[in-house]
Every structure is written in C-alpha cells, then in structure tokens.
C-alpha cells in the first residue's frame, strides 16, 4: 500500500535547547520595542496634528504607496531592488509566521499543497530575489555611487546583514534538505541547489554540524537585526507606512498651516519653528520616516543648479537634531552645522514641492522650510534684503513689486472692462493679480484673457484699484502675520461684492483662493484661466479660426500642476492653438520649477546658478519655437532664461491665453 504522506518538513530539526531561541526572541523584541518607544516618545513631544481623519482615503493611500510602492518604482533600478528586498521581507516574515502558527499554535497549515507551493517554492524564490536585490543595491552603492545617496557605514551594514540572513537561510535549508533526504527538497529550488552542491563536498555529519552552527548564526543575525533595526533607517519599515497613512490629504498646495497669533502673543511662544517644540508630532514622524534615498534632493531645482539647498540633508539634520539635544534652539544647530550659510539654504527654496512629490514615504520637506522661515522672518526679521523690500512693498502698497510704474487698470486701456463696483450683474470675478496688472509683459496676458471672456459673452468684472495681493508671496517668504491680514482684508472686500466665482491667470492666486482662503471664511469656485477658457472652448463659446505652425511646448507651473493637479486644461488650449506640440522630459507631476516661487523671483541668484536658465535649457532642448506658460512668474522667469540661453534662435514665451487669443481673435 502506498502511504500518502503529507508534504511538510520537520521544524527545528537538529536543534536543541530551543528555549534559547525564544529567549533571544524576547530580548530582541524588548530591545526593538524600546527603540520604537523612544521614537514614539519623541513624536509625542510635538504639537498636535489632525492626521487620522478620513480613514478610507488613508487606507487607499497605504495600499497604493506602502504596499504598491508606487513612488519607489518610479526609478527603475532602485525600484527593482527595493521591491525584491521589501517583498522578500514580507514573504519571509509570512513564512516564519506560518511556521509559528503550525508549530507553536498547532494549526496544521504548513502542509500539503500550501507547503509545497508557498512555503517551499514561493518563499525560496522571494528569498533569492531578496539576495539579488541586495546585490543590486550594493552594486549601486559601491560601484555606481550616485550623488543623491547618503554614504554611511550603517547602510552597508544593513545590506550586509540582509545578505547574510538570506544566505544563511539558504544554507540552513540546503543542509537540512541534503541531510534529511527531503523528498520535496526540489520544491525549494535554491535550497536544493545548496543541497546538491553540499552533497558532493560534505558528509552528512559535517552537514549536520554546519547546519547547527549556521542555524544559530541565522537566529542571532535575525534577532540582532530586529533589535537593531529601529535604531537605524530600517525603522522606515514601520515609520514609512505610518507616515503614508498619516500623510496630509488633499493637494500639496494646501500644505501650509495657520498660526494662532493671539495665543502666541499671550504665551510668548515663538512664531514658526525655533525649537523642536515648534514642530507637530507629524513633522517629527517625518524625520524618522526618512530612508535617506535622496530623491528629494535629486529633483530639487535649487540643488540641480548647484545651490546648497538639499531637502534630504535638511530633514536628516533636523532628525539628528531631534535625536540629540531636543531642547536647544535651532540656531544652535545652525551654528554647529554650517555657520551662517546653513540658513542661507532656506532662502533658496521655491516651494515647488518636487521634493514632496518625489518622496516615497510622503515627507513634507518644503513646508518645514516655510516653518523655519516663519521664525526667521517674523521673530528675527532676518531674511534677504530683496525679499524684505517685497514685504515692505506688500505692506504699504498692497503689491510686492516696488518700483513698478504701472497702475492696476493700465492693462484694460481701450477695453470695455467693468469694475465690480459698477457691474452688479457680473457672474465671474476676473482676479487680475499683481503680476498680471503691474508687470508690463503680463498685462498682455490679462488683456488676452479679458478679450476672450468678452468674445465668449461671459459677464465678468474686475476689482480694479481695490485689488490687493492675495498674500501668497508673504506666506511663502514666511510672514504669516502679513498674509493673514491680507487674506482677511481680501475676504472682506470679496464678501462686500458677493463674489462666488473667481477666474485668475495666476496659479499662486489660484492656489491661495482655492486652498487657503477657505480657512478665513472665503469660499469660492475658483478656476485657473486655462481651465475656464478650456471650458468655454468645450461649450463652443470660443471658436478658433487659425492654427499656428510653430511648435509649442508647455511648461507646467508648480502651483497649478504639481500643487493642484491641473495639467490637461492648459494643454488643451495649446493643442488647439498649434499643429505641433512637444512635451519636455520633465512635465506634469515631475515638472521642473521655473524658479520664481517661494519669494525667489525677488532674489538675485548667482549668475551660474539660476533655476530659470536650467528650465529654459530644458525647454530649448525640445526644439520648440514657443514655450507656453500659465503663470506671470513663469513668464518672467522663463523669458529671462530663454533670452539668456536661446542664442540666435527665435524662441518666444507666451501664455496659453495669448495663444488661444491668437487662434480665436478673428472668429465671430
């Protein structure tokens, strides 16, 4: 009779004094637990933050980004190895859990088909993939040496540990298979290879000894690794998913939080971040979630043109600061790291958000920069002179452009544009913005927009002289107090006119109205002019009669694209206007900043380190004749950059509204 034996393997074969393993496990968990506890205790010192609402959305993000590794795999090379290692961890942990359930809890699951397909085959494959992953990672770190990584002994040690764990795992498996003549040995292909190789070299006695030694080594390595992990960047295995779950929901344009000035005036606590106490627990968690991957730095436009700013280094500096002396002022850190120059990097940030978009664990680097700026600006008045001028101009003139010779309604000369005061039947408020009104190149954009609206029969009005800056530059530079004052004023003015719908040609105004004014009681339907115009085209209210032969490439404004996910409407306008369009390599969510945000358009950059020139170079690389933009800052920065880089070529920078007007102006 053939006895049907269920496939399985002897657990703890060849091992005695098993209690030692349990003891090691307990110690390991205790040490690891303490490590985690230390981190959690630190987070709890932070201010409160609302990060657990809307669980369904958060779970979805968790699945997509923690499980699905959606951002990590954007980079092929790193994507592969990390997936191999990460899935290896998961599968092997699952496998160990299966062993535990079967052996310690008596659930007979490690048997039969499941044993063969999963516990033997799949586990082996994933173990091998993990080994390969580590190899790829090591090759990258040791041979390719990309600049964006952080080169520490810890990282190498982590890779070595994982390698050894996997290797010893296979050795142990192989020797068991060989020594026990495991009938299902071949279901574990790599263990089987080890078995076959060993059989020709070693006696069974030797294999048993080797197995015993290696098994305890493997245990020591694993438990050691578990104990050690929370004290290293491996902590990201926990903090990464936690950070993804707790990440801010909604567009990144809404990332900045308000301050309670009345409370700060009373308590005397600093405005902005001076010490750790200025951070929320979520910020502190951000520091601990960092995997040192360096992607934020590699996509940072300031860093790309050679400036000192490195979002990764900022986060790691803050992390080290948080773990070291938690009470001394940030100024001490600044003094200790790189004297004076350290705060300089804060003033190189355009708040474009590329860092936040690139981060696989959803750290918010740019918002921390603004938090740090707030302290320097509001408590110390210590910030670049040209930004100071912009702030002073905002305070006294309601716009940041000191020295402009234009007034708010100059752009409307010759057009039949009504102000809100006189147009009571207007459906839409055309918010011109300071850039549109006072920078002469941009006045043409607003004119084109107004003319298109008129052609489409839209009843619109403007605020004219009553329009004041939305306060966006003040907020990004760090003067939250001024921003609040301006926001409240504008909300009052808009309330006075009963404004419900706003169309604006400036993405900064757009972002501020849509994402920030609701906090001040301003709730409006807000459209970027490209969205609104595209809508009019779709409704047939604007018809085009001409189409340009010029090749056009569209540059995504950060505050429209990445921060608010409006990518298609402007492209629609571009496609209508021209027979030929081409995309830059970095577009949409990965768009490269023009260099004008975050108050940077008020700063004189060193000649060889200009963000706008780099983006201009990228645009020129496409061979396009026209660079299309949707923002007055992008217009100014890219015209400057293109003029500097175009040489003899005839390349123009134009707004999508201008392009549409060109195509539509002769229609009925």
């Amino acid at each position: 009779m053939i006895q049907h034996i269920e496939a399985t393997r002897p657990v703890l074969w060849n091992i005695t004094n098993v209690w030692v393993m349990y003891a090691m496990f307990a110690v390991s968990i205790a040490v690891a637990g303490y490590g985690v506890y230390q981190r959690v205790a630190l987070w709890r010192r932070g201010a409160s933050s609302k990060s657990f609402d809307r669980p369904a959305e958060r779970l979805k993000a968790l699945l997509e980004h923690a499980l699905g590794q959606r951002r990590t795999v954007r980079e092929r090379y790193a994507g592969f190895f990390h997936t191999f290692i990460y899935t290896g961890f998961i599968i092997l942990t699952a496998a160990t859990t299966v062993v535990m359930l079967d052996y310690d809890f008596g659930l007979p699951i490690m048997r039969g088909a499941f044993y063969l397909y999963f516990q033997s085959f799949i586990v082996d494959v994933f173990g091998a993939l993990a080994l390969i992953g580590v190899g790829i990672a090591a090759a990258r770190r040791l041979v390719i040496k990309p600049a964006k990584l952080v080169y520490t002994d810890e990282s190498l040690l982590i890779l070595a540990s994982i390698f050894l764990i996997a290797l010893t795992g296979f050795l142990v498996e192989g020797w068991r298979i060989a020594a026990t003549n495991d009938p299902w040995g071949a279901w574990s292909p790599f263990g089987y290879l080890v078995a076959r190789a060993s059989q020709s070299l070693m006696s069974v006695e030797a294999m048993r000894t080797a197995h015993l030694v290696t098994w305890w080594s493997h245990a020591a390595l694993v438990f050691g690794f578990i104990a050690w992990a929370p004290y290293t960047k491996m902590l990201h295995a926990l903090t990464g998913p936690l950070n993804i779950y707790a990440a801010r929901l909604g567009p990144s344009g809404a990332a900045l939080k308000r301050l309670d000035f009345d409370k700060l005036a009373e308590t005397g606590e600093p405005m902005g971040v001076k010490t750790l106490a200025g951070f929320t627990w979520k910020d502190l968690l951000d520091f601990d979630a960092c995997t040192e991957c360096g992607r934020c730095t590699s996509v940072c436009p300031a860093n790309r043109v050679g400036k000192e700013l490195s979002p990764r280094d900022l986060i790691l500096d803050l992390r080290n600061f948080a773990r070291g002396d938690g009470d001394s002022a940030f100024a001490a850190l600044v003094a200790n790291s790189v004297p004076a120059a350290a705060s300089e990097r804060l003033w190189q940030c355009t708040t474009c958000g590329a860092c936040m978009e690139a981060c696989p664990v959803f750290i918010e680097q740019a918002t921390k920069i603004v938090d740090l700026r707030r302290y320097l600006v509001m408590e110390e008045s210590d910030f670049p002179d040209t930004m100071q001028e912009a702030i002073t101009s905002l305070e006294s003139r309601g716009h940041p452009f000191r020295g402009t010779q234009s007034s708010r309604m100059d752009w409307a000369e010759g057009l039949n544009v009504k102000t809100a005061a006189s147009a009571r039947d207007a459906e839409v408020l055309l918010w011109v913005g300071c850039g549109g009104a006072l920078i002469e190149r941009n006045q043409k954009v607003v004119r084109a927009t107004a003319q298109l609206l008129e052609k489409a029969g839209v009843k619109f009005a403007v605020l004219g002289r009553e329009e004041k800056c939305t306060g966006d530059p003040a907020r990004r530079i760090g003067n939250e107090f001024l921003f609040e004052m301006m926001a409240k004023e504008n909300v009052e003015t808009l309330k006075g006119y009963g404004v419900k719908k706003i169309v604006t040609s400036c993405p900064h105004c757009f972002n501020t109205f849509r994402n920030e004014y609701p906090q001040f009681g301003g709730d409006y339907e807000v459209y970027h002019h490209s969205e609104f115009l595209a809508g009019l085209v779709n409704e047939g209210r604007i018809k085009t009669t001409a189409q340009s032969d010029k090749t056009i490439t569209y540059h995504d404004p950060c505050y429209l694209g990445r921060h608010n996910s409006v990518f298609d409407a402007p492209r629609r306008l571009v496609q209508i206007s021209s027979r030929s369009t081409v995309e830059m390599k970095q577009n949409r969510e990965q768009g490269f900043c023009c260099g004008g945000g975050g108050g940077m358009s008020f700063v004189e950059e060193p000649k060889d380190k200009r963000v706008n020139q780099e983006r201009a170079r990228q645009a020129l690389e496409t061979g396009a004749d026209v660079v299309a933009v949707g923002c007055p800052f992008c217009m100014t920065m890219l015209e400057d950059g293109v003029n500097a880089r175009k040489g003899e070529r005839d390349v123009k920078v134009m707004d999508v509204a201008e392009l549409l007007w060109q195509a539509a102006q002769d229609s009925n």
Binding site: G403, Q405, E440, R441, E604, N643, A644
Partner: protein, 323 residues
C-alpha cells in the same frame, strides 16, 4: 534802494555754481533796480573776489583766520551779521552743502523766509516768487515768500552766468568780526575725493549705473566707458544704498542734480526720484533689457538689450569710431 545779496563760499572758487548765483544775482539786481552785494566767506580767493567784484556793486569778504575753513556756527554768525548790516530784500545762495544748511537758519535769524533748489526766480508786485520741483520731480510749484528778506538757494547750474572780468572798479571790503567762539560744533576731519577732480554737476558726459548692475564690479566697466568719452560715473540711489559706490556718486532728487550734455543710464529703471536729478540733462540715453522701463520715456535714444552684452561691444565700437 533795494539791496540784493549773493552769498558764496570761497572754497569752491568761481565754479559753474558760483557763476550761476552771480548771474542770477546780477540779473535780479538789475530787474529790481537795486544794488548787488556779494558776500564771500572763507579763505581769501583773489580770483573769485575780483570776478565777483566786476559785476557786483559791493563785495564783502569774511576771511579772518577763524573763518578760513568752514565751521557751521561761525560762518552762520558772520553771514548773519553782515546781512543785518546790509538789510537786503533778497539773499541768494547756491545749492552746495554749506549753502543748503546755512540758508534756512539765516532766514530765521533775519526774520525772513527761505526756499530752496529753485529753478526760477521771479518778482510779482514786490513779492519774491520761486519755482521749484516737488513730489520727487513729478510736479512744479510756485512759492511766494511772505517774509523779508527772501533767502533763496538756487539750483545754481540752471542759471546762466554773466560775463565777468578781472578788472573791477568795486572795492573788496574785508570785514573783521568779533568772533564769539562758538565751538558747539567743530569740523575735526575732512575727506574729499581727489582735489581737482571734476564735479559731477559739471560733467558733460555721465555714465550712470543702477540696481541692475548687481555689484561694484560692473561700475568699473562704466568708469572705463566714461573715461573713453571724457565723462564721469554716477549711480542711482539703490546702487549707493547697496554700497557699490560712494554716496557722492548718487544722482537724483536727493543726490546730485546733474545737467550733462549726455547722460547714459545703464540698468536704471527711471523712477521719478532719479529722473528729478537728471531733468536738466540735454540728452538722455539708456541701456536696459526691459523695453517698458520708464526711463525710455525721457530718452532721446536707447537700446533694449542686456547691458552685460552691450558694454563690451560698445567699448569696441566707440574705440573704432573715435579713431
């Protein structure tokens, strides 16, 4: 008999500014059928004294030892005393530093009224009126001085000189004062850029740089160009406030008022306060990358390009044309 006084500080000599004051005084005295008195304070300067004496009806010098070098309180006391003795209807000054700080105080002490940086001097039914530029050069005001004497400091170079000679009939009278030592303020140190260096106000060609130059280095290029054209360098207030050049280069409402034959503005936008300092320039040209820069509204000709590209080429072209 109406007495007009012109007051000059000898340290400047008979420069264009002094010539303007003398010219204005002479014409006013003739117009009012009055006597022109000249007061010259400071170290004895023969040429100045003689030239002035050739057109004035009386010349008084205050050149005793204590007054040789300017000291604010002492010179004010001396001039006040002289003017009290003469009892003029009008006292004219130039717009140099010493004159500007003396005139209002002198007016107060004499119970008169002062007005400054005047472009025109008129009489209206016995009243003295002046025209001056206000609101950063955006408007022109006509002021009537309500008290006598009228103490007016002129934008001296805007007034035509009169012919003078080195032969004169008028005697130069030296006054000795009983100087009350007034040492409440004492000049203890002076620094002048190279003595004999041309005054910006007298330059025929000026190359001027603004905020757009980005730093002191670019000003060296401007200086080279200026030298090639036989001119001088100047700057906007923004450039001076950034420390890129000495304050004496500042041109504008609060800076030098210049009247060159050609003023070339490099990377200067043209704010009205700056334009107020160059409104007397015969020709203004600009190099600016922004075609909408307001300065172009006052220019005879201009080039819309990045000055960094223009300057080296311009040096080449000028060198070639000047051969």
């Amino acid at each position: 008999m109406t007495d007009i006084v012109i007051c000059l500080f000898s340290s400047s000599g008979y420069d264009r500014a002094a010539q303007g004051v003398v010219g204005a005084g002479r014409r006013l005295a003739t117009q009012l059928n009055g006597r022109l008195h000249a007061v010259v304070a400071g170290a004895h300067n023969s040429e100045l004294n003689i030239r002035v004496a050739s057109v004035a009806d009386a010349v008084v010098t205050a050149d005793q030892r204590e007054l040789t070098r300017y000291q604010p309180e002492l010179h004010l006391n001396a001039i006040t005393q002289i003017c009290r003795d003469i009892g003029p209807r009008v006292i004219l000054f130039g717009n140099d530093t010493y004159s500007q700080e003396t005139a209002p105080r002198l007016a107060h002490r004499l119970g008169g009224a002062a007005a400054g940086d005047c472009l025109e001097l008129m009489t209206q039914d016995g009243a003295i009126r002046v025209k001056r530029s206000v609101y950063g050069g955006k408007a022109l005001a006509t002021i009537e001085l309500k008290r006598s004497p009228a103490v007016v400091w002129l934008r001296a170079r805007a007034f035509e000189p009169v012919a003078t000679s080195l032969a004169s009939v008028t005697t130069v009278r030296r006054i000795r004062f009983d100087i009350q030592a007034d040492d409440r303020t004492q000049i203890v140190e002076r620094k002048s850029e190279a003595a004999g260096a041309a005054r910006l106000e007298d330059a025929r060609v000026i190359l001027s740089g603004g905020r757009g130059l980005g730093g002191p280095e670019a000003f060296k290029d401007l200086q080279e160009l200026a030298t090639m054209l036989g001119g001088q360098t100047a700057a906007s207030r923004a450039a001076c406030d950034s420390g890129w050049c000495p304050p004496s280069w500042q041109v504008g409402q609060t800076g030098k008022k210049v009247a060159p034959g050609l003023y070339i503005a490099v990377a200067i936008r043209g704010a009205s306060q700056h334009m107020a300092g160059i409104s007397d320039a015969k020709n203004i040209a600009a190099i600016n990358i922004d075609p909408d820069a307001p300065i172009f509204k006052s220019c005879r000709f201009g080039i819309v390009e990045d000055y960094r590209k223009v300057i080296p080429l311009l040096k080449e072209k000028l060198a070639a044309l000047q051969k």
